[in-house]
C-alpha cells in the first residue's frame, strides 16, 4: 500500500482538440500502465461516441504507478472530466476529487473560451494548476504567444509552463515530475469516520452500480456495509478496487485514494454523482458539501420511426436509464408520431448524445421532437398548477389563467469584440442583461437572466457562430416566472401535426410562425401533390407556405450497362423514404421535426 504522502490526484483540463486524450494516452504509456502495443488510441474515452466526437462524457479514474526522480514510487490518480456545459456539475465533482489539474493549451490555438470555465472551476477549488503548452512539434506552434496569454488571462507565470508534444512524447516525464513536486498530497485521516465523494458511477450487469469514489477520510474494506448519505441507499461491498485502466480488485482503500466500489445496487439513482459514501455501521455525522439532485431541464419526445420498434425503444431506454442518472422518461403518444416517450435531459448535448446512443448502440431509427421545457400552467377555476413539458398538451388558451416558465442565470464569457452581437442575441431571446465583468482587458463575462425555453432553441449554436467560436456559455436554473406565452400549431396539408407544436412568447409568435413554415418548406421534400404548410395560433392562421408538387424524378440511362449503380441509387432513395414519417399522405423527414432548431438559419 502506498502512503497518502505518495498519492497525487489530478485531472486534465483542455479545450476540445487541444490534445487531452493523446496526453492521457502518453501518460499511461510512459508509466507502463498500458503497454504501447496494447494501446488503442485514446484509451480513456471508452465509448465509441466519445472517441468520435472527441469529447469525454463519463469521468474515468486511472491509477498510474510512477517511479519519480527522487527514487520513490508514487500512485498518480488521473481523474478524467467531461468538458461541456451540460455536465458542469459532473466536472465540479471530478475536480473536487483532485488536488491538481493539468491545463492543456494548444500551442497553435492559444487559450479558448471553453477551457476558461473549467480552469476557473479548478482555481475556485484551490487546485494546483500545471500549465502545459501542447503540440509544440507543429510548425505553426507559437508557445511564446500562448505563454503571454496564460500570463495575462490567468496570471500564470511563464516559468511554470511546460512545453510538450504529447504526440511525440516530448516533455511528458516533466509533467509527471511536476505532478509529484507541485501537487500536494491529499490531506487524509484514515482513522476518521469514512467519507468518500462519489464523482461518477455506472451500472454493471453483474456488479450492479459501481461508484467511483475519492476517499476524503476513513478506510473502506472489502465487504464493508456502506451507505449513500443523500439517498440513504445501503449495501454490502461486492468488490473494491482501482483502475489501471482495467479494474484491479483490492482489499482496502484508505483516505486520499481513488477507486471504485461495486455495490450490487440496482439503480444508478441510489448512488448519484456528488453523494457521500459512508460506513453504514459507523456513519460520518455530516456528508461532504455540494450534493445536487440531477435536474432534467430539457424535454423532448422520442418516437420509433417504425411503430413496431416501440418495445425495443422501451427496452433501450430502460437500459440507458440504469446508467444515466440525469435522464428520465415516461410513455406518451402523439397523433402524428404514434407511441413514444417523453424524455428529460440535463441539457441539449445530453439529449443529442442520448439519441445517438439509442440509434447506434440499440440500432433504432428515431424521430425526436423539438426540445421543450416544463411549463407550469394555472387553469381557470382550478386550484393547482399543472406541469406541461410537451407543447402539444398545452390546454386551450381559453382555459388558461397564466403560464410560468423556467428561467436561468446565464454567463457568457467572450472576447470583447463580440459583446455587441451577443447582447443582441441574448436580448432577442428575451434575455435580461444583468452586468458585465471584465476578466482582463480583452475578455468579459456577461451575465443575463433568460427563459430556458429560449436558450435551448439553437442559442448555443448562434452564440458560437456570432463569436467565431470563442464565446462560452454556462447557466444555472433560478426559478419559474410568469410569461405571456402562446401555443403555435403547425398544419401540414390541413392536418395539425402535434409533434411540431411549440410554445412561444406572444410578441415573437408571428416571426416564429413565419420562420418555422419557411424552414419546413425547405425540409419537407416535394410530394406528388401540392402541400400547404401553415402556422396557427388557435384557429387563426398566421403564416402559410406551399410546397409545390414534384413533377420529375427519373434517372438517366444506365451508361455502358452500369445497372448496379442505377439499382443502388434506387435502393438509396428507398432507404431515404424509409427514414421519413408518413403523416396523412405526406412523407416528412426526421429533420423537419427539428425545424424549430434551424429556424434562424434562413430567417436570420
Amino acid at each position: 500500500m502506498i502512503p497518502p504522502e505518495r498519492i497525487r490526484n489530478f485531472s486534465i483540463v483542455a479545450h476540445i482538440d487541444h490534445g487531452k486524450s493523446t496526453l492521457a494516452d502518453r501518460l499511461l504509456e510512459v508509466t507502463h500502465t498500458v503497454e504501447g502495443r496494447q494501446m488503442q488510441s485514446q484509451v480513456l474515452d471508452s465509448m465509441d461516441l466519445e472517441r468520435e466526437k472527441g469529447i469525454t462524457i463519463k469521468a474515468r479514474a486511472v491509477r498510474l504507478h510512477y517511479d519519480a526522480a527522487d527514487g520513490q514510487t508514487y500512485a498518480l490518480n488521473l481523474i478524467d472530466t467531461p468538458g461541456h456545459v451540460d455536465f458542469t456539475y459532473e466536472v465540479s465533482r471530478s475536480l473536487q476529487a483532485c488536488e491538481g489539474a493539468i491545463l492543456v493549451v494548444d500551442a497553435t490555438q492559444g487559450i479558448e473560451a471553453q477551457t476558461l470555465a473549467n480552469v476557473h472551476l479548478a482555481m475556485a477549488q484551490n487546485l494546483t494548476i500545471i500549465p502545459v503548452i501542447n503540440k509544440i512539434d507543429l510548425p505553426s506552434a507559437d508557445p511564446e504567444m500562448v505563454m503571454d496569454e496564460l500570463e495575462e488571462t490567468l496570471a500564470i507565470p511563464r516559468e511554470e509552463v511546460l512545453l510538450v508534444s504529447a504526440k511525440e512524447g516530448t516533455g511528458v516525464t516533466e509533467i509527471l515530475e511536476a505532478i509529484v513536486s507541485r501537487v500536494p498530497a491529499p490531506a487524509a485521516d484514515a482513522r476518521a469516520p469514512l467519507r468518500a465523494l462519489v464523482f461518477d458511477s455506472h451500472y454493471d450487469q453483474y456488479k450492479g452500480v459501481v461508484a467511483y469514489v475519492r476517499l476524503a477520510a476513513g478506510t473502506l474494506h472489502d465487504h464493508d456495509r456502506i451507505r449513500f448519505m443523500a439517498t440513504g441507499a445501503e449495501s454490502e461491498i461486492l468488490e473494491l478496487g482501482y483502475f489501471r485502466p482495467q479494474p484491479v480488485p483490492t482489499k482496502r482503500l484508505t483516505a486520499g485514494e481513488v477507486g471504485y466500489v461495486a455495490t450490487g445496487l440496482k439503480s444508478i439513482r441510489e448512488a448519484q454523482v456528488g453523494d457521500t459514501l459512508t460506513d453504514a455501521v459507523a456513519p460520518a455525522p455530516e456528508p461532504l458539501p455540494g450534493y445536487k439532485e440531477p435536474l432534467p431541464l430539457v424535454f423532448a419526445g422520442l418516437y420509433p420511426l417504425r411503430g413496431d420498434d416501440y418495445p425495443e425503444l422501451r427496452d433501450a431506454l430502460d437500459k440507458l436509464h440504469l446508467n444515466d442518472a440525469g435522464f428520465v422518461y415516461e410513455p406518451e403518444s402523439s397523433a402524428a408520431l404514434g407511441f413514444g416517450f417523453r424524455c428529460g435531459f440535463l441539457g441539449l448535448l445530453h439529449m443529442e448524445i442520448t439519441q445517438e446512443r439509442l440509434e447506434r448502440e440499440f440500432d433504432l431509427d428515431l424521430i425526436a421532437s423539438a426540445p421543450s421545457v416544463e411549463y407550469h400552467v394555472k387553469l381557470l377555476h382550478r386550484e393547482h398548477e399543472i406541469e406541461v413539458d410537451n407543447p402539444a398538451q398545452m390546454p386551450d388558451v381559453g382555459e388558461i389563467e397564466r403560464i410560468s416558465e423556467p428561467w436561468v442565470a446565464a454567463q457568457v464569457i467572450t472576447p470583447t469584440e463580440y459583446i455587441g452581437p451577443l447582447m443582441e442575441l441574448a436580448t432577442g431571446r428575451r434575455g435580461e442583461f444583468q452586468n458585465m465583468e471584465y476578466l482582463d482587458p480583452t475578455r468579459v463575462n456577461l451575465h443575463f437572466e433568460m427563459p430556458l425555453g429560449e436558450l435551448i432553441i439553437d442559442f448555443y449554436d448562434q452564440l458560437k457562430s456570432r463569436s467565431s467560436g470563442y464565446a462560452s456559455l454556462d447557466y444555472q436554473y433560478i426559478g419559474y416566472r410568469e410569461g405571456d406565452l402562446v401555443k403555435l400549431d403547425v398544419l401540414v396539408s390541413g392536418e395539425p401535426v402535434d409533434a411540431l407544436s411549440l410554445i412561444v412568447h406572444r410578441s415573437n409568435a408571428y416571426r416564429s410562425g413565419k420562420a418555422l413554415v419557411e424552414k419546413l418548406k425547405e425540409l419537407i421534400p416535394r410530394q406528388m401533390f401540392e402541400v400547404p404548410v401553415q402556422a396557427a395560433i388557435g384557429s387563426h392562421i398566421i403564416s402559410r407556405e406551399t410546397i409545390r408538387a414534384m413533377r420529375k424524378n427519373v434517372l438517366a440511362k444506365c451508361y455502358g450497362g452500369d445497372v448496379t449503380r442505377k439499382r443502388k441509387l434506387l435502393e438509396k432513395q428507398k432507404e431515404g423514404k424509409q427514414r421519413m414519417k408518413r403523416i396523412g399522405s405526406v412523407e416528412i423527414p426526421q429533420e423537419a421535426f427539428l425545424a424549430v432548431l434551424r429556424m434562424n438559419e434562413s430567417a436570420g
Binding site: K552, N553, V554, L555, A556, G561, T564, L569
Partner: protein, 385 residues
C-alpha cells in the same frame, strides 16, 4: 441455339472533359490511345467469349478519338474471338467537334454500322452554357459528313433542363434536330450531381464549382414540360418513344441498349466497363486508367468489383429495367422467370402506382403512365427489395 451476347468497349479519352459528366473519362492523354487500344485487344482475348455476339457498342469518353484502323482492329478481334458473323449492329459514339472530326468513311469500312453523335443541342446558347467544345454548325457538318459516308443509322443526343433554355428554346432545338432527319434520338435531362454517389467517377473540383453555380438555375417543373413537349413533338414526326429517353424511326431502335433492358449477357472491356453474365453475376473493371493498363499488361483482367444477385434483386432489376421501356414488362414473361405474377409479388407497389396513376396495368402488360415516365424513380423505389 446459343444465347445472344453483346460487347461494350469503353474509350475514356476526351479532348475536353465536360463539367456535367460523371462517367469514366480522362482528358489530355491522347498519347496513351495506342497503348490503350492494345489493352482492349488483349482484354477481348483473355475474357471468355460465350454465346453469339450480336452487337458491339463503343462508348466513352470519346470513342471517335480512335483511328479507324484501331476501331477495325477491335471489331476484327471481337469477331475472331466469337467466331461468328452474327453481329448486326456496331455503334460508335462520336463527338461532333470539327477539331476532332473522325474519318467517317474509314469507320464505316471498319464495320461500324451506327453512329451516336453527341450533338447535345443545336443552339449555340445551350452549347455555351454546357461549355461544350463544339458549335451547332459543327454538329450539322458532322452529321452531314457521317451521312455522306453511308451511315444510314445515326442517333443524336439532346439535352434539356439546361439553365437558360426555355420551353420555346427547346422546341426550336428539337425542330433543328429533326431537320437533320436522324434515325434515332436520345433526350436526356441535365443531371448535375453535387454530392456524387460512390459509384460515379468523382468530379474534378472545377466541375463541382461549375455544377454548384448551375444547379440553382435549373427548374424541375420546366424540365418536366420540356420532356412532355418532346414526347408530343417527336410522336407527331414519326419517332416512336420506346424507352424513357429514347425515340426511333421504325426499325431503328438501339439493339445494344435493348440488351441491357432485357437483361441479356454482355461483356464490357476497358476502364470502368461493366459486364453481366445474364444470370446472377455483375462485375466491373477498375476505373483508374493506369491501373487498368497495368492489369491488362500483366495478363489479368483488372476487376474492381462484382456482385452476385439474389432472386429478389434479379426480380427488382427485371422490373426497374423493364419499366424503362415504354411497352413495359410482360407479366407472363416475368412469371415464367420468377414464378410469380408481378401484380401479386409487388401487390403494394402496384396498388400504390395505380392509385397515383403513375403505373398502368393493361392485360399482360405493366407499364408507366405518361406522368409515371417523369416520376419513374418514385414508382420504382416502391419495388426495391
Amino acid at each position: 441455339m446459343t444465347a445472344p451476347h453483346h460487347l461494350y468497349v469503353h474509350v475514356p479519352f476526351c479532348r475536353l472533359v465536360c463539367a456535367y459528366c460523371d462517367f469514366v473519362t480522362v482528358g489530355g492523354r491522347a498519347d496513351d490511345i495506342p497503348r490503350y487500344t492494345d489493352a482492349l485487344l488483349a482484354e477481348i482475348d483473355i475474357r471468355p467469349a460465350p454465346g453469339e455476339l450480336r452487337t458491339i457498342y463503343f462508348g466513352g469518353g470519346t470513342p471517335s478519338l480512335l483511328a479507324a484502323e484501331q476501331v477495325a482492329a477491335i471489331i476484327d478481334t471481337a469477331l475472331g474471338r466469337w467466331g461468328g458473323t452474327t453481329v448486326d449492329e456496331v455503334t460508335l459514339e462520336a463527338n461532333p467537334s470539327a477539331r476532332e472530326a473522325p474519318g467517317w468513311a474509314g469507320l464505316r469500312a471498319a464495320g461500324v454500322t451506327r453512329i451516336s453523335l453527341g450533338v447535345q443541342s443545336l443552339r449555340d446558347e445551350d452549347l455555351h452554357a454546357l461549355a461544350r467544345g463544339h458549335t451547332a454548325r459543327e454538329a450539322r457538318e458532322a452529321f452531314a459528313a457521317a451521312r455522306s459516308a453511308a451511315f444510314d443509322n445515326i442517333s443524336i443526343d439532346l439535352i434539356y433542363g439546361i439553365p437558360g433554355q426555355s420551353l420555346d428554346d427547346w422546341r426550336e432545338g428539337l425542330e433543328m434536330a429533326i431537320a437533320l432527319d436522324p434515325d434515332h434520338l436520345s433526350c436526356y435531362a441535365l443531371q448535375l450531381a453535387l454530392e456524387p454517389d460512390e459509384w460515379a467517377a468523382p468530379p474534378r473540383p472545377g466541375a463541382l464549382r461549375w455544377r454548384t453555380r448551375m444547379v440553382p438555375r435549373q427548374d424541375e417543373s420546366l424540365a418536366a414540360d420540356q420532356y412532355r413537349l418532346a414526347e408530343r413533338f417527336l410522336a407527331d414526326r414519326g419517332y416512336q418513344h420506346y424507352e424513357l429517353s429514347s425515340w426511333a424511326r421504325p426499325g431503328r431502335q438501339s439493339r445494344h441498349n435493348a440488351a441491357y433492358w432485357a437483361r441479356r449477357a454482355y461483356t464490357g472491356v476497358g476502364a470502368g466497363a461493366h459486364s453481366y453474365d445474364g444470370g446472377a453475376v455483375r462485375s466491373w473493371n477498375t476505373r483508374d486508367i493506369d491501373a487498368y493498363l497495368a492489369g491488362i499488361e500483366s495478363g489479368e483482367r483488372p476487376l474492381a468489383g462484382h456482385e452476385t444477385l439474389d432472386e429478389d434483386t434479379r426480380a427488382f432489376e427485371a422490373v426497374a429495367l423493364g419499366l424503362r421501356r415504354v411497352d413495359g414488362i410482360s407479366r407472363r414473361a416475368f412469371e415464367a422467370e420468377f414464378g410469380t405474377d408481378p401484380m401479386e409479388r409487388y401487390a403494394d407497389a402496384v396498388a400504390d402506382g395505380r392509385r397515383t396513376e403513375l403505373l398502368e396495368a393493361d392485360g399482360d402488360v405493366l407499364r408507366l403512365s405518361a406522368r409515371g415516365r417523369l416520376l419513374a424513380s418514385e414508382v420504382l423505389v416502391a419495388f426495391a427489395p
